[in-house]
Structure formats: C-alpha cells, structure tokens
C-alpha cells in the first residue's frame, strides 16, 4: 500500500499552484531593463556636482540621444553670468496676439509635437477687462481682433517662487541669475509645483514627448531644452541655453512687433530698466506676493 495520502496530494498540488502563480506574477520582471544607468542612479544633486561630474552627465545625455534616437546633439550646462539678474517685460499695447512667440518656444525647446506644447499661453481678453477667467487661449480668427487685447503668459521667474518651495525633493530651484529651473532627472513627477504656480506656467509630460528626429533642436541645455523624459515637470527657462551666452530668447526674436523686452535687471542702463522706469508697468497677480521678474506694460 502506497503512503500517498490525500493530505500529501493536496499539499503537492497547492505547492505547484503557488509556484506557478508566483512565476506568473514576477514574469514582467524578466522584461525589465533599468531606465537609467547605475551612474545616473547614484549621482549627486545638481547643486553638489563638481564641473567635471556635470560635464560627464551632459555627455551621458548626449550618448542616450545617440543610442535611443541615433542623432547627434550637443548638451551644455551654461552657468549664470556674474552680475546678471534676468528680467522680461511685455508691451500689451503692441502685442497683436499672433502666437509666434508660442510657436518659437515650441520649436526651440523641443516640445511634444502632437500636443503642440509651448511654455507660452496667449489669452485674448476684452478691452478694459483683466479677468483671466474670461480669457480665451484657443482663438482661431485673424488678429488683432476689434475690441480685444492679447496677454501672453509664461513663467514669471518669481523672486518669491511658490513652486520651488513645495518640491519635496528639491528638483526645482531658483538660480543665481533669477531663472527658475527643473532638473528633469531629479523630478519625481508629483506635480505639487504645477498646483502651486498661480500663473499655470508649468507643464507635465504625461507621455514621452514625440518629436521627429529631423525637427529636434540639437543645441540643448541640461536644465532647459533637452528632450524631457516621461513623467516630469517642465517650464520656461528664459531659454537659458541662449540667454546665458548673451543671446535673446527665442520668443523675443519671433515677436514681429517688438512687444517683448529682455535684459539684465541689475544693469541700470539696460533697455529693460528704461521700460520699468518710464512706462506704465503692472505685475500680474501682484497681491499674491510672488515678486515676479516678468512685467507687463502699456504705451499710453
């Protein structure tokens, strides 16, 4: 007589079933490939990086573009210029609402093509009104339209920026020259900063940005227009890969009317300081105490 009891059979069947279920459950792990290298996983915070370590990270981002897309890009990490505090002023009297600034941002900063993303949102408002809730950012008719004016809104690079305070991992901060930046490799995608910004200036990458290879701007900044990964925040960086080299931001160059004035707030002879001293200037949502370095002004 065999000692195969009912209890033993049930135990064996149970064990087999359990092992199979476990194997099925962990099967996806066999497909898993690390999304980042060990070096990237073990790296230090941006502010603690030595110049050679930062350089190595830039080369790694370039290498990733080569392996994932097969294209050559140049990733730099230009540093703030001593004595420069960036500021921006926008003339509401001559903005015609053509949205060329938003379009220039779209191409300069390697934005997702299907959503036509941009860091600039242009509101069409009724003359005499300043209620953004009544603004239309999706107008589709010839501009400037009668009885309307246009207000482009982008990151105000606030001196008292609420977005940087709410970040639980210090993935976003204000640089020495006043530019508020995001380290896309440090961001965990919690979107607290998006909720904290009273100007709706931050964008979230719900999916990996889709850009044809031949449309990618290869002149990239580590903290600015390099192609973002999925699941991280992004925002206007005053085109720091351009402006820290002394160039004008892309949105200003695209503006046909000269409504945009960019420059150094710390230089009393700058064009920007002339505007602030001589024009009727106002600050959007000034009552919130965010102390923007982005200003609006009128001619008359």
């Amino acid at each position: 007589m065999s000692d195969l009891t009912r209890r033993t059979v049930l135990k064996a069947a149970g064990a087999t079933l359990g092992a199979t279920a476990f194997a099925a459950a962990i099967a996806p792990l066999t497909q898993w490939k690390p999304a980042e290298s060990v070096d990237e996983f073990l790296r230090k915070h941006y502010k603690e990086l030595a110049p050679d370590e930062l350089d190595a990270i830039c080369r790694r981002v370039e290498a990733e573009a080569k392996t994932s897309r097969g294209i050559d890009v140049h990733v730099a990490a230009p540093q703030p210029i001593p004595g420069v505090q960036y500021g921006y002023a926008l003339n509401l009297s001559i903005c015609v609402g053509c949205r060329r600034c938003a379009e220039a941002c779209h191409t300069e900063n390697n934005h997702d093509r299907p959503s036509h993303n941009s860091y600039i949102r242009v509101f069409e408002l009724d003359n005499g009104s300043i209620d953004l809730a009544t603004g239309d950012a999706t107008y589709e008719h010839p501009v400037p339209a009668k009885g309307k004016y246009y207000m482009p809104v982008q990151c105000h690079h606030c001196a008292n920026a609420p977005c940087t305070k709410v970040c639980p991992v210090e993935a976003t901060w204000k640089e020495q020259d006043g530019i508020v930046v995001v380290d896309y490799n440090w961001c965990i995608g919690c979107r607290y900063c998006e909720a904290a910004c009273p100007y709706h200036a931050r964008r979230f990458n719900w999916k990996k940005p889709e850009i044809p290879n031949d449309e990618i701007n290869p002149d990239q900044g580590y903290l600015s227009n390099r192609v973002r990964p999925q699941g991280v925040m992004e925002k206007c960086t005053f085109c720091l890969h351009r402006t820290r080299e002394g160039k004008l931001p892309a949105c200003l160059e695209a503006c046909p009317t000269g409504a945009r004035v960019f420059g150094n707030l710390a230089d009393p002879d700058s064009e920007l300081r002339w505007v602030l001293a001589n024009k009727r200037v106002f600050i959007l949502k000034e009552d919130l105490g965010t102390k923007p370095t982005f200003f609006y002004f009128f001619d008359k």
Binding site: A89, I94, N117, V122, Y139, E140, V143, G246, T257, G258
Partner: protein, 200 residues
C-alpha cells in the same frame, strides 16, 4: 650754505620731483584701467530707393529697372495729390491711408530718388526712419530704447551684435496700420480645450 645742506636740498628736490612725477603718472593709469568692454554693433535694416521694372532686359539678360527720377524729372510735381485716384497716369492703384499726408509730405519734388523732411532737408530712402520720426516721436523714442520693433541677436552687446527691423519692415508707408493676420496654432494642453467643448 654748507655743501652738506645743499646736498640735502638736492636730494629733497629730487624726491619731491619724483613724488610729483609719480602723481602725474598715476592719473592716466587710473583711467586706462577703466576700459569698457567693446560693444558689438546694432545693425538696422535699410531699404534702398525702389526701382521700377522697365519690362525689358539689358544686354546681360537681367531685367532692366529705372529710377523714380527717370520719369519724374520731366513731370511737374502737384502738391495737391494725396492718393492714387488723383493721378491720370501711373500709381493709380496705389492704396493710401496715412492721415492727411500728401505725396510730397514725404517724397522730394526736387529729386524723387530721395525723401524730404518737413524742413526741406533731404533724407535717403535708407534712412526713412528719420522721416517717420518727425510725426511718430513716441514710437521713435521707444525704438531707440529697444521697446518697439522686432529684433534678433544678443541682449548682451559685449558678446554679440543685434539686427533690428526698421519702420517699413512692418508698416507699409502708404497704409501704415499693422495688418491683421491669422495666428499660429495654439498649444492643446488640458487648459486649452476650445471653449464650448464637452468631455468625451
């Protein structure tokens, strides 16, 4: 005076002279160390006098053009003309909506290859901004302070130059009102769903 005293006098005099010389030499040194960084140029767009297509080609096969003065030299200027409809020949289709100006408010009846200021001074077509500035002072003031008119290049002129539009790049001098145009496509983020759209 003893020789020792006079020797002391000479030494003192030499020392004082050296001190004065050093002070004088110091002054220019201070100013030469304060060199300003070189500024790159700001280049303004310039448009030469227009030329009229003659409708024939020259010996090299290029379309021949003629200067304004070719025809205007033999015609008598009429200061009353202020629109294309006033003319019996040429320029009749010209649209004109520029306040109460007449042709000769800007064009020089003495030489149609020039422009002319209100005080009679001649202005080359390349410097038409000087002509516009006679009436549009506030716009010229803003332009000179970088707060009117498109540009590209560098905000920091110690690092690179800048290229600027001139008035007539955006404003047709005969119909100067900025023309309306269709805007570029808008971004389609979740705050920019067209008004009236409903959830699917």
């Amino acid at each position: 005076m003893s020789p020792r005293l006079s020797a002391l006098g000479v030494v003192l005099a030499v020392l004082m002279a050296a001190a004065i010389a050093a002070e004088v030499a110091d002054r220019p040194v201070v100013t030469t160390t304060e060199t300003l960084p070189a500024q790159h140029p700001v280049v303004r767009n310039s448009h030469p006098a227009p030329r009229v297509q003659a409708g024939v080609t020259d010996h090299a096969g290029r379309p021949a053009t003629i200067a304004c003065s070719t025809c205007h030299a033999v015609r008598t200027p009429n200061p009353a003309n202020h629109a294309g409809t006033d003319l019996d020949q040429f320029h009749q289709g010209l649209q004109f909506q520029h306040g109460g100006s007449t042709c000769l408010s800007c064009h020089d009846p003495g030489n149609y290859d020039n422009l002319r200021l209100a005080d009679g001074r001649k202005v080359a077509f390349e410097n038409s901004i000087e002509l516009c500035s006679q009436c549009h002072g506030p716009q010229r003031r803003d332009y000179d302070h970088g707060a009117h008119g498109g540009m590209n290049g560098y905000w920091d002129l110690t690092r690179g130059g800048r290229h600027r539009n001139t008035c007539i790049d955006c404003h047709d001098p005969h119909v100067p009102k900025y023309q309306s145009a269709f805007p570029m496509p808008h971004p389609r983020d979740r705050f920019q769903i067209p008004t009236g759209a409903t959830h699917e």
